[in-house]
């Protein structure tokens, strides 16, 4: 009987404590800067074009083959009287978020710091009704960075 009473005292003590519930949809916990949701592409605000040159490094390193990259000649390149030093630039970029396993390898292999893991809640809340809607195309991948909604964290 003593042990049962002791158990009941423990539950009584938690009764008096503050609940630990986080009321999720209303209150978002502040995410740490290193938080990894899904990868997205970064926008070079100085030149107004993506950082990504479509070099396929991330595509090759991806363990689950969730990326598709196609490059093109950069119309903004200095040879075309543009401001950019990038000879090639990304044309099409698809990431299948449904297949991505968020391993961060694409970020690590990127030579141009053009890809980063989304560390905002927007990156986590990606529910859709159709699985194919999770295949993100280039504008979608760039949107957050273009709108300066993200402060990316990339390990040095």
């Amino acid at each position: 009987m003593k042990g049962i009473l002791k158990s009941m005292m423990v539950t009584a003590s938690t009764f008096a404590r503050k609940p630990v519930t986080r009321e999720y949809p209303e209150g978002h916990r502040e995410l740490p800067e290193r938080d990894r949701a899904f990868p997205l592409l970064l926008w070079d605000q100085d030149i107004d074009e993506p950082f990504c040159t479509g070099c396929h490094a991330c595509e090759r390193a991806c363990p689950v083959e969730c990326m598709t990259v196609i490059m093109k000649d950069n119309p903004n390149h200095t040879s075309n009287d543009g401001p950019s030093k990038r000879r090639k630039i990304i044309d099409k970029f698809y990431i299948d978020y449904a297949r991505c396993m968020r391993c961060n390898i694409c970020v690590e292999v990127c030579n141009f710091e053009a890809i980063a893991m989304n560390n905002t809640w927007q990156g986590h809340e990606t529910s859709v009704y159709d699985r194919s809607d999770l295949v993100m195309d280039l504008p979608q991948l760039l949107a957050q960075s273009k709108a300066k909604q993200i402060e990316e964290w990339v390990a040095e």
Partner: protein
């Protein structure tokens, strides 16, 4: 290398021409496996002993019951597909009282992947052998419960041995975007 095996196991050192394995437990193992044709080999962590397939279970029993060794714990049992060189069945043994480690290997030719079961020696071999059998197509004769372990029960997959090198990876279609396909093989080995 950060592991220290109490000085009992193989330690890396410069190979001297006739390796006597004096610093390992090989002398004890060799003494125990008197009537068995064995060959030692060093690996990074543990001593490897190669035993021919006909003697392997007998040898394992000797290793377990020997007073000085007492390999009473079967850590792991698996196989390695060496393609043309057949399939290696690998036993990782451990001696709880003596803290010895030993790897026992036996090679099965590709056309005769049959081996005696080690379940009489250690019960632990039961499920591990079932897994090895279905994954590599090795038949363990005398196994008390030769059903598949991880493979589906409702489909006959007795000819499918996924961990053999001849078994293909699942082909994943590159579905992203507008069903774009392109040559990835060129990227291999970068």
């Amino acid at each position: 290398m950060t592991t220290d095996d109490g000085g009992n196991d193989a330690v890396e050192e410069a190979p001297e021409p006739p390796d006597t394995f004096e610093d390992t437990i090989w002398p004890d193992v060799n003494r125990t496996l008197t009537a068995v044709d064995v060959r030692p080999e060093r690996s990074v962590l543990d001593l490897i002993v190669h035993i021919p397939k006909a003697d392997v279970v007998r040898g394992l029993g000797m290793l377990k019951n020997d007073e000085a060794l007492q390999f009473n714990y079967l850590r792991s049992l698996t196989a390695v597909d060496n393609e043309a060189d057949g399939v290696d069945v690998v036993y990782h043994l451990y001696s709880v009282p003596n803290k010895f480690n030993l790897t026992v290997k036996t090679t099965l030719p590709n056309d005769d992947k049959v081996l005696d079961t080690a379940t009489p020696v250690w019960q632990a071999a039961n499920w591990l052998e079932r897994e090895t059998a279905e994954m590599f197509g090795v038949t363990f004769t005398g196994h008390p419960d030769p059903r598949p372990l991880l493979m589906p029960e409702d489909v006959d997959m007795s000819d499918t041995h996924p961990l053999l090198k001849s078994h293909p990876y699942a082909e994943i279609d590159i579905l992203q975007g507008e069903l774009l396909g392109h040559d990835r093989d060129a990227d291999e080995g970068d």
